[in-house]
Subunit: 364 residues, 2 copies
């Protein structure tokens, strides 16, 4: 079983327990978060990261802020609730899922203004816990569809002697979600059923999420893992070591184009060249039907020091120009399938995605 | 002009002056090597690196060992010469070019046993200096052919507003040779003629030769350079920023397959996908006509710590499996042209390489 990224421990006076991801892979330390200020700091400093996990953390953060407001003073409760939502939103102002989670908690409170404050407080804690359950359900459904897809695909005849082997990039694992991950969910579900899938992990420069986080969480769960530098992916594919690539995504456009961590596009092109299927684990929450194509996704450029001083000491000349895009866009033609919690989508994606978001007319 | 990697300063009692490459890119420090022990240490600890540069260093090393042997004692001179050759060979036992250079000096001495010792000593110094001249001649010829090739190729119409832009991987620059480099020679020759070519440099994990050495030497020579991580090459090509890729090689097989630093294969495949020409600067000394194809080249695997602790601190979990091949092989079908000092070779390479190594029959 993958480790739990975040969970609630105890009753209404309990704590949000989370792994401090900034200490990985050197140290596994759990933080017991008891107040909203500590939660803000944890989100701000990336002790917790990944869209679903941040959303859950924010929901618990709101609960921690309001759980001690006087039970007979709705106005004080409501003021504290709104203040906490604004405050938590400021921790990662560009994290869409953070605001989605905060709105969800605010909407819940707004729908129950007729109830006593303690009842609303209890509802908020329940809602935050429900977000964990929902995340687990979505991730496990992606895991089921992904595993089925991996097991059904034709195996390279030359490689049937070794375990099924996949390559992944960055971290779309349990530590980006509550527990199961998206791209790694099929791996964990397979392990649960006694099937060990070997995972090659790109270290994922510049921030090394693959080396630091993905390799660590797979190792913790007893999954066979081999770490490579990003530029080794072509060699391992050329050697026939890889049966499939599976990665996560930050955003899927209506035509199936996929934005994900820098380097994903290169892996997708190599997979195509070597006839290796390229799968994208895409919870429907990451699909943006308003976005016609991936060309419209703005690419965030990050600071040069991530490349030139990424490991604690300078490894490039002072003053050198650096291009450091955080993401790239993989055109849909390189994507073998999108694995969602509602099923496996294959090309043509415009049609498949439209069907996914069209209310069923079965029985009419 | 690119910096000089190694040169002789002074007369017969002079010194071999070289850049201490282990201090780059933080510090430019020249070493004045006056004895064979210091030269051995410099080769051993990679203060000087790159096949041609190591060969030249070894030749100067032999001279430093024998320059003070008594002028009237041939036996003592010859014993010292052989001892120095064995000793210097032990500094990098797998460096083919090191042994080639040592044999060349030994053969020279053997061909002049009838001369007085001081005359042979002078010949050895001259021979070592000649190796610099020859290296410069080869590199500049590669530069000429490479530059002509770069300037003649069709430009992407959408990118004529910006300077010609190439991408390179690892270091096949001046610091791997006496001064001009192989893959970077066309860039330096262009600059000499007032044409600035913009160079994107892959940082080249795990040992970061691109970030540490290539970016540094281009910056020193006033060439516009942009550093990227290896996994950004696909994105910069997708954005139409790259007009050509040019890399060096460790070994070219008789069919045109090319062994080079890990990551080269990936760059070659991306170049093909984006319609960007992929050029390999290949001095004829790197072409091995005994080697039928690149499949026969053994791939050296290096220690895991280069990947897991490459920057002075651990960035991956303890105990994780690592695959760390030092090289990969790029099949000839991805190679647009081989740029040698004797001309530009294009497919089919088996025929082109055979012609290159067949004595000319012109005039018969």
């Amino acid at each position: 079983m993958p480790v739990k990224t975040i969970e609630w421990v105890g009753g209404q006076d309990g704590v949000a327990r989370m792994i401090d991801q900034t200490l990985l892979p050197a140290e596994l330390k759990y933080l017991d978060v008891k107040d909203v200020e500590t939660m803000w700091e944890a989100i701000k400093t990336l002790r917790i990261r990944g869209a679903p996990a941040i959303g859950i953390a924010a929901a618990f953060g709101v609960y921690l802020a309001v759980r001690n407001t006087p039970g007979d003073d709705y106005a004080a409760f409501k003021a504290e609730l709104d203040r906490a939502a604004d405050y938590l939103g400021s921790a990662r102002p560009t994290a869409v899922n953070l605001f989605w989670a905060l709105r969800r908690i605010q909407n819940l409170a707004a729908a129950h203004t007729h109830e006593p404050v303690p009842a609303i407080q209890a509802r908020i804690l329940d809602e935050a816990k429900r977000m964990i359950d929902e995340d687990n359900t979505v991730c496990r459904a992606i895991g089921e569809f992904g595993l089925q897809t991996l097991l059904e695909q034709p195996r390279r005849t030359s490689t049937t002697e070794r375990p099924l082997t996949v390559l992944t990039h960055c971290n779309a694992g349990g530590l980006a979600t509550a527990q199961w991950g998206t791209a790694l969910a099929p791996i964990y579900l397979a392990a649960e059923r006694g099937i060990l899938i070997h995972v090659y992990v790109d270290e994922t420069r510049p921030l090394l999420q693959g080396a630091r986080i993905t390799a660590w969480e797979l190792q913790q769960a007893g999954i066979p893992v081999t770490l490579i530098t990003d530029n080794m992916a072509a060699a391992v594919m050329a050697q026939g070591r890889i049966d499939a690539v599976i990665v996560g995504t930050d955003r899927v456009a209506a035509n199936g184009d996929v934005a994900n961590k820098i380097g994903t596009l290169g892996v997708a092109i190599l997979a195509k060249e070597f006839g290796v299927p390229f799968y994208v684990a895409a919870p429907t929450s990451s699909i943006d039907m308003q976005l016609e194509s991936g060309d419209l996704i703005p690419i965030e450029e990050r600071k040069a020091e991530e490349v030139t001083e990424g490991f604690g000491r300078r490894t490039a000349p002072v003053g050198v120009a650096v291009y450091n895009p955080a993401f790239d866009v993989t055109p849909h033609r390189y994507v073998t399938a999108l694995i969602t919690e509602n099923g496996v989508l294959r090309p043509p994606y415009t049609e498949a995605l439209n069907r996914l978001f069209t209310p069923t007319t079965a029985g009419m």
